[in-house]
């Protein structure tokens, strides 16, 4: 071999050493380092000067024994080793993984050593995403075609990754928009970056389920980015929310119904009594009328006028006509009043239990407050006087039934705050229009809310009421309803003096909705 030839091979070797991702070392028959590439120095953390001419066992002090074993085996005529991964000694507390490739050379061995720590960490992370993460995850390319699908997504959707690769995810799992318009893949909400949006996906068997999903762009090379979509099935959670809402409604209904029964039974009792009296009174009046007729009868022509008036007077006394004349109009008035009381109560119940549609509508909140007060009168009337200070309000875009529920909860809480008081309490409900908002205040002069629990009162299932008196969902529900309306609910309270709950509602609904 000429000098030129040697120089040429050496140049090739250097080029190869530089091109290979790992480090390369050549060792002689005694496993002494003959040549190491700069990358090798970096992987083992030793300069060439500390390696060349020294045996591997002495120079690589930090190398695991397994590496030396491999070198010995290969030099001793063993099979070449390829892609063997071992743990190297940690550096600065960080564990390291090495990949070993080793082949014999005519008078020694060639060792390829690369640090695969990051690669393996990334793979583990990816595995965790793809295999173990409970959230669904898939990636699509720039045209919305599936490029990968993790196991959770596969289980939720009912499709295997291999079946969907290259297919449009929008067409396969994304349910068409609620208005029925065929939302094209280009308009698909899942093509734009988004965090925690609600969507409906469809399983392979056609059943829809609700998800909360996030979309992040994913750059793979040049051009339009693809996307990574993560999603979570929230059908169960939504149902639980709905049930909690429903439970709360039932709870307040149960409490109301007993009071309502009382409110209805009272007028029914006196309407019945008065009507019975009117029937008796009619009978008495009829008897009296018969006597009058008798007095007027022509057959009595001979009878003296005195005799006739005496008969009439006697009959009037028997019928107690003065009493009847005084009482009948009152009985009629009270009967009609009772009937109106029942009728207005039934109207209020109907209006109160107003079934909201999914859409909001404009409603008169003063009217809603009056309705709630009628329905809950029995909860309040024994403990407090309610004063209404209702200002002029524009109609407010809202879910009326939900707000009724909120008003009821606040009213019942105010009444409950009177417990243990000597005197009757006072509850004031005021409404005001303030610019783009209406402000509704429920003020009571009850027991107030101690400072240390004021933060907790809006938490679900937080209650200070005795067992059976409340489940602690009333204020949590109120906050949820106000949030949904883009409004707010706040409390000011002074223990022993009372509390004020302030509701703010945008007149025209949630700005972003």
């Amino acid at each position: 071999m000429t000098i030129d030839r040697t120089a040429e091979v050496s140049a090739f070797l250097e080029a190869a050493e530089a091109a290979v991702p790992g480090g390369i070392a050549f060792l002689d028959g005694d496993l002494r380092f003959v040549r190491v590439s700069p990358a090798f120095e970096a992987v083992v953390g030793e300069p060439a000067a500390a390696l060349i001419g020294r045996p591997a066992s002495g120079a690589l002090t930090a190398a695991p024994g397994r590496l030396l074993d491999v070198l010995r085996e290969v030099r001793g005529g063993g099979a070449p080793v390829s892609d063997l991964r071992i743990d190297a000694a940690p550096v600065a507390g960080r564990r390291r993984r090495w990949r070993i490739d080793c082949r014999p050379t005519p008078d020694g061995v060639c060792l390829l050593l690369s640090d695969v720590t990051e690669e393996e960490t990334a793979a583990a992370l990816r595995n965790a995403f793809m295999r173990d993460m409970p959230e669904g995850l898939y990636t699509v390319d720039d045209a919305g075609r599936l490029t990968s699908l993790n196991r959770a997504a596969s289980e939720m959707l009912g499709w295997a990754e291999s079946e969907l690769l290259g297919r449009s995810m929008h067409d396969t799992v994304h349910r068409p928009a609620a208005d029925g318009s065929p939302a094209g893949v280009d308009q698909c909400a899942l093509r734009r970056p988004a965090a925690m949006t609600e969507e409906v996906f469809v399983r392979r068997d056609g059943t829809p389920f609700q998800v909360v999903c996030s979309v992040a762009p994913l750059h793979e090379g040049s051009g339009v980015p693809g996307a990574v979509v993560t999603f979570r099935d929230v059908t169960e959670a939504r149902r639980a929310d709905l049930e909690a809402h429903h439970d709360q409604k039932l709870e307040s209904l149960g409490r109301l119904s007993a009071g309502l029964a009382h409110e209805i039974n009272t007028p029914i009792q006196f309407v019945g009594d008065n009507t019975r009296f009117l029937a008796d009174a009619y009978e008495d009046m009829w008897q009296l009328l018969m006597v009058y007729r008798g007095c007027l009868a022509p057959e009595l022509g001979e009878m003296a006028w005195d005799e006739r008036t005496a008969r009439a007077r006697e009959a009037e006394e028997k019928a107690d006509v003065e009493y009847l004349v005084a009482e009948i109009p009152a009985a009629v008035r009270q009967t009609l009043d009772g009937v109106e009381r029942v009728a207005s109560l039934v109207r209020a119940m109907k209006s109160f239990s107003y079934k909201d549609t999914a859409e909001q509508s404009y409603a008169d909140l003063n009217e809603a407050i009056r309705t709630t007060l009628t329905v809950a009168r029995n909860e309040v009337k024994y403990v407090a006087d309610v004063e209404l200070d209702l200002g002029d309000l524009p109609e407010v875009l809202c879910h009326r039934g939900d707000l009724n529920q909120v008003f009821l909860n606040l009213l019942v809480n105010a009444a409950d705050a009177m417990e243990g008081r000597e005197q009757r309490g006072r509850i004031e409900i005021s409404t005001r229009s303030e610019g783009p908002e209406v402000v509704i205040r429920f003020t009571d002069d009850g027991c107030g809310i101690p400072e240390h629990i004021r933060q907790s009162i809006f938490d679900p299932f937080f209650t200070t009421k005795g067992v059976g008196k409340g489940s602690g969902q009333g204020l949590a529900l109120a906050r949820a309803v106000l949030d949904r309306h883009g409004g707010s609910i706040d409390v000011q309270s002074e223990p022993g003096r009372g509390s004020t709950f302030t509701l703010r509602l945008p007149v025209n609904g949630r700005p972003d909705a």
Binding site: A261, I264, N265, F277
Partner: protein, 392 residues
Amino acid sequence: MSRPRVLFVDDEPRILDGLRRSLRARRHDWDMEFATSGAQALEMLAAAAYDVIVSDMRMPGMDGAELLTEAGRAYPGLARVVLSGHIEPEAIVQVAMAGHRFLTKPSDADSLTAVVDQLLLRTSSPDPAHARRLAGAVRSIPDLPGHAGAVAALRAPDATVETAAHAAVEDIGLAAKLLQLSTSRFFGGRPRNYSIGSIVRAMGVPMVQAVAEAGHRSWSPAGWYPGSEPLLEAVWRHARATARLVEQVASPANRPHAEAAALLQDVGHLICLAGAAGPVDLAAGTRDGVPFRDVAVEMLHLWGVPAPIAVAVAQRDTPHRPDPAGLGVAGAVRAAHLLVTRAESGSLTGPQQEELALLLAHPQLQAQPVDWHRAAEEAAAQAEPTACGAAS
């Protein structure tokens, strides 16, 4: 004699107006007065004697339960009627102790009139007013010493309907209270019949537990009349044995009433001997000169316990002349009572023997292939708390 006086209490003046008008037909029979609050009612009760008070329950300030409790304490002879559209669950047990009768709103004038008329009627007694005061003061009847076991089982949180029914049968006072409450829908569904088991089922275990608990609380444990324990124990055993036997003696239709009457036959002993401060004559069976039985009958009447039961209790010691058509509740109880008495003491008086022979010859008893004396002995033996094994 002056007219009976009835006081109506309701915070809703229109209810009172309506009652005044609809009850106007009775204006010549009763003097009716009206109060719109508990406080006003107590003032009126202090100013004049009343026979019956009819009160709403939910009222601001002093509510109906408080009013009736207070009125019952101060004027035990006053018959106390609840007239209410709704009773709060928290108040229901207090109401159960405070009232004698329970009417729901709306009630028509006829049912209200019928109840008031019934309550104005006093069961025959040499001293009806005194018997009324003794009976009217009763809010609940204590369980007998030594019989707390069944009641304790009833209080267990996991008590079943069977446990509750068993406890109610063991506890004469609780059985009486349940019979009283079973006539009103405030305390549970309508029982299929007036057997204790049906009542317990209709009320539900939690209500029975609450009533038992409240009954226990409302009895001030001043102790039993000195030296009365052996008598009370004998009375309890006799009631249990008779109740057991009467199930066979009575016709199927009369069984629930007969069982209840047998259990309650000597409830007067319990009422009169519980914490008795007044003069009691144990030998004569009287308190303040009023026979125990008269007090029992007056209380069952006040409590609205079904008439056949009250009549059978009233007539337990009255010689029975059997009707060929059937023994009826009273006849069955009387027959069982005589049989058990004979089994317990081994003998009857001459007239009692003749009466029993007549009763045993009755077709209703003849029709069954039962040795009645033996059945009575078995029933008596079963009622012995500890002697089950020792007797045979």
